[in-house]
Amino acid sequence: MTTMFTPDHEWINIEDHEAAVVGITLHAQEALGDIVFVDLPAVGRTLKKGEIAGVVESVKAAADLYMPVSGEVVEVNDALRADPALANRDPMGEGWFFKIHVTDMAEFEQLMDPPGYDALLKTL
């Protein structure tokens, strides 16, 4: 199980072969504050890396959620839709956003590993 990160503060975790889970990082949820709304992509949609996959909104602000790698959306977190604050309470766990089937594993390998993401956070 490997977790990688994007410069836009999404994480992606490969669970099994090309099946991956996507969410926002601890830093992202802290920066947003109380999350009150998520807009998740439709299951079955295929999106390219960097395309807008959804929206996450706090009381104060709205942020786009970008596709960390190209792939097909295979499942979305309905529990998060019902209780968006899950993304505050457990952003790396219960507060996941959606699952995808990764099209190109090379894109995954190019993302930031945990030390790389930590280094990015230190520059903010």
């Binding site: 504050g33 109380d34 009150v36 709304f37 807009d39 929206v55 909104e57 706090s58 009381v59 104060k60 709205a62």
Partner: protein, 371 residues
């Protein structure tokens, strides 16, 4: 380019309490503390919250004719304003547009004006230019301003001086708090009972500490202040009102008393009086309304409002999902045909149309202490 941000006398207090500091109107201000906007908002509705609003402008007008002079810039009754009474009003321009909204209190030897932070330089110049010969205009950059708001604000502040409990909504007085003479008004920007406390800058931190040590009180940031005022249906200058909206558009004619209206003893004689008088009789082309969404999708400032056929009928000026209502609420300007309760409109949110209903404001009932 970026000028050094100003700090209020409570800057160190905010940092010490873990506040998330953001630039606002040239100041570095706390948007929220670690509790978060939702918790701070609920704290204010359920108990009491302390806000630092020292970035706002405090200006004294001194001189016998100050009230009459100020009436030439504002359509409110200042000559009739009694000692220690406070009024809400606005500066208008020659087209009737709102240059700023503010509070005016008559004190023993002056009128005390509290104006918006990002308008204080403009307002001061506006006063000097137009009233300079008629009264003395004294900005008070060395005064701090704290707002203690919520149903338990009175119980908290009365621990420092029981006499504050004698104030009613929109009145003020001088009170000694934690050994310092402060000017306290029973007013605020949350829809709750509460106080605004003006004091010397160096007294702000000891007073903030004394208050936040009380069980009832916790600090709250500008984020909660914004959601609270939105629920209370109160306008935010630069968003819900500006120099292109007049008091008729904005639904603020309640602030214009009979004595300043057509036929009144001191009618007109303020900038834009003719436009405002005409629109008060004939109606405005568009009006500020409250909107509640029928789906749980946040509707934000700048989004278009359309009718059922997709024709543009207005624009959102403030909006979010607020903690008390727990639904998306917004203020918007819409063409007057739609400015009636229960009218159904739609907000264009990204690729979808979110149905919304025109709703009387406030969204949450005011709980002022009127005595």
């Amino acid at each position: 380019m970026s000028a050094e941000l100003l700090k209020t006398p409570l800057h160190a207090f905010h940092v010490e309490h873990g506040a998330k500091m953001v630039p606002f109107a040239g100041y570095e201000m706390p948007v929220s503390y670690p509790a978060g906007i939702v918790a701070e908002h609920k704290q204010c509705r359920d108990s009491a919250a302390l806000f630092d609003v020292s970035h706002m402008g405090q200006i004294r007008l001194i001189g016998d004719g100050a009230d009459r002079a100020l009436e030439s810039l504002m359509p409110i009754d200042l000559i009739g304003l009694g000692l220690n009474q406070q009024r809400y009003g606005f500066f208008t321009n020659s087209a009737g547009g709102i240059l700023d909204d503010l509070m005016v209190t008559r004190r023993d030897h002056d009128l005390l004006l509290v104006v918006n932070a990002d308008r204080k330089a403009f307002d001061t110049q506006h006063l000097v230019t137009n009233l300079g010969g008629r009264c003395q205009i004294v900005p008070l950059p060395d005064r701090a301003l704290l707002a203690l708001q919520g149903p338990k604000a009175v119980a908290a502040l009365a621990q420092l001086n029981p006499d504050v409990a004698g104030l009613v909504f929109m009145t003020g007085g001088s009170f000694t708090l934690a050994g310092v003479e402060c000017y306290v008004t029973r007013s605020g920007y949350t829809g709750e009972d509460g106080f605004e406390i003006s004091m010397p800058a160096d007294a702000a931190e000891p007073l903030a500490r004394a208050l936040t040590q009380m069980r009832e009180v916790k600090p709250a940031g500008l984020g909660a202040r914004d959601t609270l005022r939105l629920e209370a249906g109160l306008c935010l200058y630069g968003h819900d009102i500006n120099d292109r909206t007049n008091p008729v558009h904005a639904g603020l004619t309640w602030a214009i008393p009979k004595v300043r209206r057509s036929g009144g003893e001191r009618e007109g004689r303020y900038p834009g009086a003719e436009v405002i008088a005409l629109q008060m009789t004939q109606g405005a082309p568009h009006k500020r309304v409250g909107l509640v969404a029928l789906e749980r999708v946040p509707v934000r400032e700048g989004m278009n409002v359309v009718d059922s056929r997709g024709h543009r009928i207005g624009k959102v000026t403030s909006g979010t999902i607020t903690p008390t209502v727990d639904k998306p609420i917004a203020m918007a300007y819409v063409v007057s045909d739609y400015a009636r309760p229960a009218a159904e409109v739609y907000a264009e949110v990204r690729l979808q149309r979110v149905p919304m209903r025109v709703t009387p404001m406030p969204f949450v009932p005011h709980r002022y202490h009127r005595g």
